[in-house]
């Protein structure tokens, strides 16, 4: 999985998205991925709850320092294994609900725009273990009609799906390790 993501991210470096005005086309895309983990929700939440901790559980992220910890408005800079950086801002954080949500301020090499996301840890089915749900809403990287193939809707969905799957699978591995 890690290789798939790195490959995807690598291919995207060419498709650097112009930062600046958040203009976008009218068709918003979404990705929703979830994974069941054989560990208590609190233990899983403890691994991911800190906004700057994504480097500890996502295999494609080398570093992720945040400006103001888990305070709304805090900004983290992700340095990707495949090259490039992504800037994200925390928009909501709830220890009680075990979830946080954030927005990309600069997508770097990821071919999306106007990206927002929520990650949440819920009790698993029948109160056994945990269910982690990671969801994102975004537009393709190319803001106008007739996008090139590396910046179209499918490319955006594929990139985000790859990032979520790789992250969740690695989180499961870490959380279930004895």
């Amino acid at each position: 999985m890690r290789r798939v993501v790195l490959k995807a991210l690598g291919a995207l470096t060419l498709a650097a998205v112009a930062a600046g005005a958040a203009a976008h086309g009218p068709t918003r895309q979404k990705v929703s991925e979830e994974i069941a983990i054989d560990a208590p929700p609190q233990a899983v939440w403890d691994r991911i709850k800190n906004f700057d901790a994504i480097k500890d559980w996502h295999p494609a992220i080398k570093s992720s320092p945040a400006t103001e910890g888990n305070t709304v408005g805090s900004r983290r800079t992700l340095t990707l294994d495949g090259g490039g950086t992504v800037l994200e801002e925390l928009e909501g954080w709830s220890d009680a609900d075990r979830k946080y949500n954030y927005r990309m301020r600069d997508p770097g090499p990821i071919p999306v725009s106007n990206y927002t996301s929520t990650i949440e840890v819920k009790p698993g089915p029948g109160d056994k273990g945990s269910l982690v749900v990671w969801r994102g809403a975004f537009y393709r990287g190319y803001p106008n009609n007739d996008p090139p193939p590396d910046k179209n809707d499918e490319a955006a969905v594929k990139a985000v799906t790859g990032i979520y799957k790789a992250g969740l699978e690695n989180l499961k591995k870490l959380a279930e390790a004895k």
């Binding site: 086309g25 895309q29 979404k30 929703s32 809403a137 009609n145």
Partner: protein
């Protein structure tokens, strides 16, 4: 053929104007952007009564009951699909610029107005012939469209200019511009025609303008990313896409009086009798909330990525 049709249209118009459209509207026509269809939800049985294939990536809708039709903007199809309400079938696809999104019908059902996002224009269609009447140049990234109850003025959100264009429906020209907060997307006019609301999706607030003067009266802070608006007499209900909530606004006071939780990514919204109908884009369902207190009643599964951007209620 012609006289019969207009008699029927007149009758339908009479029904629509006498019965409060909201109270007598048991069906919600919801465009589903990822499954390229309109889900028709029966609000009484809480089931999908019909699924109507339309063009690519439908987002906006305007039910024009007095014309017996609904109009759906296909953002990627660059067209407007026309649905016959009696048969619930698509009867035509009209070319509609390069990125149609927002749409509204005139109260008499004779026209529909379509915002062309990429073309920076408002397209005016005649609903009798289903033909393009006029193309009015407007500002950048025109999104939501609303029409005053008397039909004389049409409002278009110029999202990237932070303005609302006011259009004279007779002259088919922009006559004024109102300054808004950041990135107005959806617009709504209260049923009494006295208030225009502009929902600013970046500054997370709602501008309230007095009509017909167009004077700014209040700027009301709401939740993150306000996206849809509905009215019920003295109140407005605004969906906050990123906050998963509905903000309730007291129009006379110009104040937010409550926030009610909803399913994720609420978008289109309408008042139907004693319920709020809220489209959840993330959950692929249409949620029903009690109008009195926001209590959640049900979420009816529909097609993928439902939007319901516009007037989606119909009595049939």
């Amino acid at each position: 053929m012609r006289p019969r049709r207009s008699a029927r249209a007149a009758l339908a118009g009479l029904l629509a104007s006498t019965a409060c459209a909201a109270a007598a509207a048991p069906f919600a026509y919801i465009p589903c952007q990822a499954s390229h269809e309109v889900s028709v939800v029966d609000l009484e049985t809480r089931r999908v009564a019909a699924t109507i294939p339309v063009g690519r990536s439908p987002a906006g809708i305007a039910v024009a009951e007095s014309a017996g039709k609904a109009y759906v903007t296909n953002a990627d199809g660059k067209s407007v699909s026309v649905i016959d309400l009696a048969t619930r079938r698509r009867v035509a696809d009209l070319p509609a610029g390069s990125g149609p999104v927002g749409i509204a019908a005139s109260p008499d059902g004779r026209r529909v107005y379509v915002a062309d996002w990429y073309g920076n224009a408002l397209l005016v269609f005649d609903t009798h012939a289903d033909k393009l009447l006029a193309t009015i140049p407007v500002g950048h990234a025109p999104a939501g469209v609303a029409v005053a109850p008397d039909g004389a003025r049409v409002f278009v959100a110029e999202r990237d200019d932070d303005k609302v264009a006011v259009i004279d429906a007779d002259k088919l020209a922009v006559i004024e511009r109102l300054a808004t907060g950041e990135h107005p997307f959806a617009l709504g006019v209260s049923p009494d025609g006295r208030a225009l609301l502009a929902l600013n999706v970046v500054s997370n607030d709602v501008d309230v303008f007095d009509l017909p003067a167009g004077r700014a009266r209040a700027r009301v802070a709401v939740g993150l990313a306000p996206y849809g608006v509905a009215f019920d007499g003295a109140r407005a209900y605004v969906t906050n896409q990123h906050a998963a909530s509905v903000s309730v606004i007291d129009l006379a006071a110009g104040k937010r009086i409550a926030d009610w939780p909803t399913a994720d990514y609420p978008e289109g919204i309408a008042v139907a009798g004693d319920r709020l109908v809220v489209v959840s884009w993330m959950e692929d369902c249409v949620q029903l909330l009690a109008l009195a207190d926001g209590l959640r009643q049900a979420c009816v599964d529909v097609g993928r990525n439902p939007r319901g951007f516009g007037q989606f209620l119909s009595s049939r």
